[in-house]
């Protein structure tokens, strides 16, 4: 039965890709719609498949094709892999439903068909990547995933910005593959097989090297600071349904890789946990701080992905630290918290990206300063975005709160560790984690408030209207899950045998609802029920307009001022005066720039160095035949020496 599910799902995905590729030029809206429904069905097949494995805690293995003894396309799905397959297929299913409406607004017919084809291949490669049971298979699908996503980022290729973002993404993703390949070859060197199984008997130095290159490889893909820069570029350039998939699911695949290798393959040292914790904390904090200054809604969400990846890494780091001290219960709490946050982030981030897609589609801009008042014209989208915001801001009783609560709980008990410095570090981490979480709430007050509340700030925002049924249904499914997962979290975990020290949100939720009912009844009985509408009070000004509203820049200004050392804003003010005494102002310009710390201090120097190196190498090539023969002779000598040394 399981084989059948697996193969059926696989075939449908491949079929859609092939069909859409073949009919790319001629395919009509009908075939496209059929393909998307089929893709939805295939996702549901995989969802059923993974749910069975997760709930029954079984394993599944399947040999698809053997190239040679070591190079095999074979799959083995255990509970962890199935959990991630569940995340992928769940989010993809909702995205497919949304795409049924969304895709008709995008580009030419050929473009749309091509997008459906790549999307299908993209989802399939993510599913198979997670299912892979050897590194060859894993890398193969890793590359398919990267390439298909690259093409999807390049969707609006006529824009120069998009081309630049896509290239940036491509380079970064290839770097991640290189690091992974290095790590896998190093493991192969030790064990002599490409299987993903526990590695023992590695020298500490080699183990550290393997860990670091795995961390960098997966870290680039996950968007860990300082390897995060591709995320805001790629997410804002691609169509919104693709951003939802990339941010909701693709970066989680990297988390899967990291968890798989840290928990099942390598035997981690303590400092790995500390390092991951530190990287996680900084990704989380800087992610949200950069998100606050962003006015491009998709970039804002992309920075929040970095923040949430940081939170997930904090959980993993805590797991490793507690595990190394032998506190298994606490370690499990941290790990489950972090894995639960992975699911939650996949849900609420795709929800936010999808609803953002609807908004961007209607207003024609990604700049939130030009939106406003949309909740009156797009009520359903507005409420769905609000649910996403509440989840991401970790407010009870939604899912985002529960997973952050687990990490908080793990943090709060860190005093049982014996090393005093580590304890202090953990408490500092706790305070930064709290700051992150509170800043995220501030950021989503800004995002929701500026986009959906008050009055429209541009003509386009005035003309916006509610989107089609599909584009509401897709996000609505996710929104419902966000609520249910939060409220029934305790029941869910205990039914799977994890008794965690978290509050029973069902009772809390029930209390909230009952209190609401009582308050409402009481207010109905004792208060005056007449209402009236009038204009907003504006100190006597009766004709309010949207220019008087608070803007997004205004909203984040106090935070920008407080965190000025981090943003390193540069102000250039130029003034000219009518008189020599500089008292009568004539004209002037002012410009505020934020210093792109990572780009200017890390990426550009590396890029310049590589450029210089390659110029030097290409200069070597500008010579005659004799020199080339000398080169190849030298190469052969070095090769012989190297082989002699290795064997």
């Amino acid at each position: 039965m399981m084989n059948l599910l697996f193969i059926c799902g696989l075939c449908v995905f491949l079929g859609i890709t092939l069909a859409q590729m073949i009919f790319a030029a001629g395919g009509s809206a009908v075939t496209r719609r059929f393909s998307l429904w089929a893709m939805l069905g295939a996702n549901l097949l995989f969802l059923a498949f993974s749910l069975i494995i997760v709930l029954r805690n079984t394993t599944f293995s399947y040999d698809l094709y053997q190239l040679s003894d070591t190079l095999r396309f074979s799959f083995s799905v255990d509970r962890l892999a199935a959990y991630f397959m569940m995340i992928i297929s769940l989010v993809s299913a909702a995205v497919c439903l949304y795409s049924l409406g969304y895709i008709e607004h995008q580009g030419s017919d050929t473009g749309k068909n091509f997008l459906v084809a790549t999307m299908s291949l993209f989802i399939l490669s993510m599913l198979l990547l997670v299912a892979a049971d050897n590194t060859f298979c894993l890398l193969f699908f890793w590359e398919t995933m990267s390439l298909t996503s690259f093409f999807m980022v390049l969707f609006e290729r006529e824009k120069a910005d998009t081309r630049k973002s896509a290239m940036f993404y491509f380079v970064m993703t290839q770097m991640s593959t290189t690091f992974l390949m290095f790590a896998f070859i190093a493991i192969y060197h030790v064990t002599g097989s490409f299987d993903i199984t526990a590695v023992t008997g590695v020298s500490p130095f080699l183990k550290a090297v393997i860990f670091l290159s795995l961390f960098i490889g997966f870290g680039i893909k996950a968007g860990v600071m300082p390897f995060h820069k591709w995320l805001p570029y790629a997410h804002s350039a691609s169509p919104s349904n693709i951003s939802a998939l990339m941010s909701g699911v693709m970066i989680k695949v990297a988390i899967y890789g990291l968890v798989r290798y840290l928990v099942f393959v390598l035997s981690p040292d303590r400092w790995w946990g500390v390092m991951i914790l530190i990287f996680g904390t900084f990704s989380a904090l800087l992610g949200v701080i950069y998100a606050l200054k962003e006015h491009d809604i998709k970039k804002l969400l992309a920075y929040h992905s970095i923040e949430n990846i940081g939170i997930i890494l904090i959980g993993i780091g805590l797991y490793l630290i507690f595990q190394s001290y032998g506190f298994t219960d606490l370690a499990m709490l941290a790990l489950i918290g972090s894995l639960f946050h992975t699911l939650n982030h996949a849900l609420f981030k795709s929800l936010l990206f999808l609803t953002t897609g609807s908004v961007v589609n209607e207003t024609g801009t990604r700049n939130i300063e030009k939106m406003g008042g949309l909740i009156k014209v797009m009520p359903y989208t507005g409420v769905l975005f609000l649910i996403g915001s509440i989840s991401i801001a970790a407010l009870p009783p939604f899912n985002g709160f529960v997973s952050e609560l687990m990490i908080f709980q793990a943090f709060l008990q860190s005093s049982i560790i014996s090393n005093p410095f580590l304890k202090i570090l953990l408490f500092l981490g706790l305070s930064l984690f709290a700051l992150t979480s509170a800043l995220a709430a501030a950021c989503f007050v800004k995002a929701f408030g500026i986009i959906f509340l008050a009055t429209p700030r541009s003509e386009e925002a005035k003309k916006a209207k509610e989107v089609s049924w599909y584009m509401i249904a897709g996000p609505a499914v996710i929104a419902a899950l966000c609520m249910l997962l939060g409220i029934f979290s305790f029941q869910l975990f205990s039914s799977q045998g994890f008794i965690l020290p978290i509050p029973n949100m069902m009772f809390i939720g029930l209390t909230l609802v009952v209190t609401l009912g009582l308050v409402w009844l009481l207010m109905r009985m004792i208060s005056n029920r007449t209402t009236r509408t009038s204009e907003t009070w504006g100190c006597g000004i009766t004709s309010q307009n949207s220019k008087m509203e608070y803007t997004a820049s205004g909203f984040s200004e106090p935070i920008l001022t407080i965190f000025r050392p981090i943003y390193r804003t540069r102000k250039n003010v130029e003034r000219t005066y009518h008189d020599g005494g500089k008292s009568i102002f004539k004209d002037g310009t002012a410009e505020i720039q934020t210093f792109k710390l990572f780009e200017e201090r890390i990426y550009l120097p590396v890029a310049h160095f590589v450029l210089r190196l390659s110029t030097y190498v290409s200069n070597l090539h500008d010579v005659d035949l004799d020199t080339y023969i000398l080169y190849s002779f030298g190469a052969v000598v070095i090769l012989i020496l190297a082989i002699g040394w290795l064997v």
């Binding site: 406003g372 009870p396 005093p420 800043l439 007050v445 009236r532 608070y550 909203f555």
Partner: protein, 304 residues
């Protein structure tokens, strides 16, 4: 239930009491102690006026605020300490219920499209973000000191041991006091007395409410203030609190709480009168002070 009803009923009293103390220091008579109750009753009788620009958000916010603080009040026993049930008393949940109320209040501040509301919610969210690490560290320090992360157990622990003499508790209560000042929007962070000076934070968000909605917002704010006072009182002076409820002990603890909270309210009033509203961007220094106090407690406890 009893606990919540008691907190809700008593909260407006402390609001008036603080006002009264401030009036005395300024050489005025001040409003009668029951003034806040009169205002609430009057507001309930008035009609609601909404701005043309507003949406659903401002209509549901008063309810959400009241519900959040009432559920949060279940977490802070002031009369007797009940047994543990379903995670009631969890510190993080308590804090995030208050954040939830604040989140909606800030959203509603943006709803009417007025500059005041926007300014208020921007500042409120900023300072709530900057104070958040302090709050967490204070409660982490408390958790470390009292060896639990549940408020019920914390209070029971502090009841058992007389903690007042401990230097750690003194540091923590200083930080808790600063948190109380910040979270209940008082001088030097905010000025609860005027509505319209551009320095205001909390009150500007309430500008667009009227009638029963305004009553609910004021009530929620008063309850929140009492809750934070109760946390401070229960940790520092838990006398009178009981774990085994009967009529006599409940009566004693009720009176004890009113007396203790009244003293604290007077202290808050005097504190407010002693200081001037400080410049907005100097406030993080105050927060740093609280952070320093609580973090030094943690260092002290960890390295002991």
């Amino acid at each position: 239930m009893l606990n919540t009803a008691f907190i809700v009923l008593i909260s407006p009293l402390f609001v008036s009491l603080i006002k009264k103390v401030k009036a005395f220091t300024q050489g005025r008579q001040g409003p009668p102690l029951l003034q806040t109750y009169y205002i609430l009753v009057k507001l309930l009788k008035k009609e609601r006026v909404y701005s043309n620009n507003t949406s659903l958000i401002i209509r549901i916010t008063p309810y959400i605020n009241v519900v959040c603080v009432i559920v949060a009040s279940l977490f802070v026993p002031v009369v007797y300490i009940p047994g543990l049930f379903a995670g009631f008393g969890n510190v993080i949940l308590f804090l995030y219920l208050l954040v939830c109320a604040k989140f909606f209040m800030a959203l509603a501040g943006l709803d009417a499209g007025s500059t005041f509301g926007g300014m208020g919610s921007s500042r409120e969210m900023t300072f709530s973000a900057v104070i958040e690490p302090v709050i967490i560290i204070v409660f982490a320090a408390l958790g470390l000191l009292l060896k639990t992360t549940n408020l019920y157990e914390m209070f029971a622990m502090s009841l058992k041991s007389s903690l007042l003499i401990n230097p750690s508790t003194l540091l923590i209560s200083l930080s808790l006091f600063i948190i109380l000042i910040v979270e209940s929007s008082r001088i030097p962070v905010d000025n609860p007395e005027t509505h319209l000076e551009l320095t205001m934070i909390h009150e500007t968000m309430l500008l667009e409410y009227s009638g029963p909605d305004l009553a609910m917002m004021e009530m929620a704010h008063a309850v929140k203030q009492t809750l934070l006072m109760a946390v401070l009182i229960n940790v520092l002076f838990p006398w009178g609190l009981t774990a085994a409820p009967d009529v006599l002990t409940i009566a004693i603890s009720l009176t004890a709480f009113i007396a203790k909270a009244a003293i604290l309210a007077v202290a808050v009033g005097i504190f407010e009168s002693l200081f001037a509203k400080s410049r907005l961007f100097r406030l993080p220094n105050l927060f740093m002070l609280a952070f320093f106090f609580s973090f030094s407690t943690i260092l002290f406890e960890l390295l002991k």
